[in-house]
Subunit: 460 residues, 2 copies
């Protein structure tokens, strides 16, 4: 937004290579704003020109705010020494995010540019599986032993705290490096200087485990309202910390994935604006084809009733209305249940609660649509005599089919995510296509079945 | 989860009113866990029994972690004095969230229970419109003047910091209360004791405005990777702070609303597990009826081609397949575009970029389905002679219709959210029904139109 407002001026300065003025103008902006500006510059060469003008520290901070795609483009334009400086200066969690995106040989090259110390940190973080908490963590924290006083701690921080990502919490470890407590910096700041840490300890702390899934981190942060949490290995040894800003990103990515899957494509895993056309089509064609193959069963189902349609073409007219109502009620139900599952509002073992209330909802919702549908047929009959002498029976067929299809759609839509979750799969991925297909095919059978009962001897 | 594991034991203790042991057992848990435990207790009376056993401070902390529904239930069971204690002790942002949910007369009663000081804070926070940043903020922050030294500040915090929600950042204000800088506590902790704050200041700070929408807060927190941000009024006077844990909740609520709206219902605004059956049906019936009314146009469109269906019933068999393919591709496109809009990855002014690539995607995706569809008809023809002598023409009709319908679905699905956003409405709310209706109706017209061209003189 900012970038769009002031962009013309800066673009001119870059174009005219008016670097002295540009440097002055850029000095006014924060790293986050500079990252925005850089992102808005179309030419990669111009991006590099602008980036080179930033003071070293600001450059690294700005670099950390950039999207990985732009980071990669920039690194191509920068010299080896500049890249090495940035890599060594970046905070470990951001660096891990960048290294992950590189092809393996390039990652290796980059790792070589790091100081031995930073390299060992990077290797350690890269050792954790994707989507584990280990990948989010940074080893920059302050851990001390319990026998220090508040004054010692403050002196300690002043001396050694420069590198740590957050000073909001101090971690207490035992002689083996095992986490035994956390103390918020506010406790320390509010205590008399001579108090010992052991007096401030309550042995009550929350921690994450490095091999756990990142989704766990989102839940724990939300439950305990923390801004930073310690990460241990399986034996309780303190390995690093995770800050909430990284978790906010994870939460948002998860929501995006859920939304995209519910919309019937695979998760794009890249911003819509930067994913390639081919990449996007690949993510979309799969499910669309699966859905299509499933929907082919509707042609077979319709074929089964071909003679009925021949004798009463009027029945065909309501087919789209009936199956779309089933589909809509099914997607309502599955969306609500999937979101409630992913927020932890309901669990698989609550299935009876869900099924009971969805069955009732389906009956009521189907009833509402049935009334609207019947009135619509009545109005058309009185106005245009569209449906002939048997219009009441046709209206009743449509109405009963709607109650049945909507109830069935609601039930299927709510039950399938629970079943899929129970099987250990992701409900967001797999529900939509199954619900759509099942509801459409069974909806058709139900509709024509009801028609055969109500209209036999009359229209059929 | 925790609640489920240890629940039987605690339930027994409550049932047998074995309060001494219960009190001991409860002392082991953190407020967040206690809140989980309370939530899992089915009877409101038992909840109150357990809650009363908690030490006063722990009780207030636990109360803050509870959902508003349970807070309200608990307050009914507690005595006036207990309620007054909790209300006065709660942090202002959590209290505001609770007071908002109460009917106006009850809110008034509650406000009366507060000390004059706390009441004025609550009234101030309640004065901001719903969904503004003002509602999220807490006035518990530390603001000081720039002429102090680091040592003064630390002493100051030790003396007056008890009430402040976070000590991670210190705010510098001028004599009028205007915010002029923020200094992270790490800067202060890392500086020599005799250094003046004015030397640490850089005049570069990010702030929120109390009347702005809460969505702005999510964006600013993400952009600047902060855990706490100051809030000013329109003139720059410091009013309070917002912490990231409240913003994480806002981000999640927003995603939930988007997901529920995309699923074709109104946002529930309450957890699925606690909303009443009637409340939920109300949220769902509206859009379902609107969609149904829209889909009624399909019956009219089909009616328009009644004679063609009579002469070639085979055409009717593919109607569900064709319109569901249009619907699926439309919902893919609209979901992706809506999420990209809400993440700020694309803006309305990028419409040409979006339309161009969705048009191409639609052609390719439609082409893929057309090939699958044609092959399916070919296989059935060779196996069962289902479609008679004109099967190639029928296959081509279906194939061309699929290309047309999928391209049209993709275009409509991507363009409508942009149009709706341009009109200042919420794309998540209104896109699904319009896309579905438009694509289904025009899909039918397209399909029968192509059939009339290709099959006239043959089947028609």
């Amino acid at each position: 937004m900012l970038g769009n407002l002031i962009f013309p001026e800066i673009e001119d300065l870059i174009k005219n290579r008016n670097l002295a003025t540009l440097r002055e103008v850029l000095a006014e902006y924060s790293p986050a704003d500079l990252a925005d500006l850089l992102t808005d510059i179309p030419s990669e060469m111009d991006q590099a020109v602008m980036f080179r003008l930033l003071p070293k520290d600001v450059a690294t901070d700005t670099f950390e705010y950039l999207d990985v795609e732009i980071q990669l483009a920039l690194m191509k334009s920068l010299g080896r020494e500049e890249v090495s400086h940035i890599l060594n200066d970046m905070s470990p969690d951001d660096r891990t995010a960048l290294l992950e995106e590189l092809p393996a040989p390039v990652t290796k090259q980059m790792l070589m540019m790091l100081t031995p110390e930073e390299r060992s940190i990077a290797n350690k973080l890269l050792g954790y599986k994707e989507n584990t908490i280990g990948r989010l963590m940074t080893p920059d924290y302050i851990a001390i032993r319990e026998d220090l006083t508040v004054e010692d701690v403050l002196a300690n921080i002043r001396q050694f705290g420069k590198d740590s990502e957050t000073l909001n919490v101090i971690y207490i470890i035992d002689e083996k490096g095992k986490l035994i407590d956390d103390i918020r910096i506010r406790e320390i700041l509010l205590s008399p200087l001579e108090r010992r840490l052991s007096d401030l300890m309550d042995g009550n702390f929350v921690h994450l485990v490095a091999n756990d899934d990142q989704e766990t981190a989102v839940e724990v942060f939300k439950k305990h309202d923390r801004t930073v949490l310690p990460v241990t290995d399986n034996t309780g040894i303190l390995m690093g910390i995770v800050t909430i800003d990284d978790v906010l990103d994870v939460a948002e990515e998860e929501a995006t994935e859920d939304i995209q899957k519910l919309g019937g494509s695979e998760a794009l895993e890249e911003p819509y604006s930067t994913i390639s056309l081919f990449g996007m089509i690949k993510k979309r064609a799969g499910w669309l084809s699966v859905l299509f193959l499933g929907e082919m069963l509707t042609a077979s189902a319709m074929g089964f009733f071909e003679h009925e349609i021949e004798r009463a073409v009027v029945l065909a007219l309501f087919v789209p209305l009936i199956i779309s109502s089933g589909g809509n009620s099914g997607s309502q139900a599955s969306t609500l249940v999937i979101r409630a599952l992913s927020l932890g509002e309901i669990k698989v073992m609550d299935w009876w609660f869900v099924i009971k209330r969805e069955f009732l909802s389906g009956l009521v919702l189907g009833g509402i649509l049935a009334i609207i549908g019947f009135i619509r047929i009545m109005i058309f009959q009185y106005s245009f005599h569209t449906y002939g002498e048997h219009w009441v029976l046709i209206g009743l067929t449509v109405a009963f089919a709607l109650v049945g299809v909507v109830t069935w759609g609601t039930l299927t839509g709510s039950a399938l995510p629970l079943v899929i979750k129970k099987l250990g799969l992701d409900p967001a991925t797999s529900s939509a296509p199954f619900v759509a297909t099942m509801v459409d095919v069974t909806g058709l059978i139900l509709y024509f079945g009801i028609a055969m009962i109500l209209l036999s001897g009359k229209l059929l």
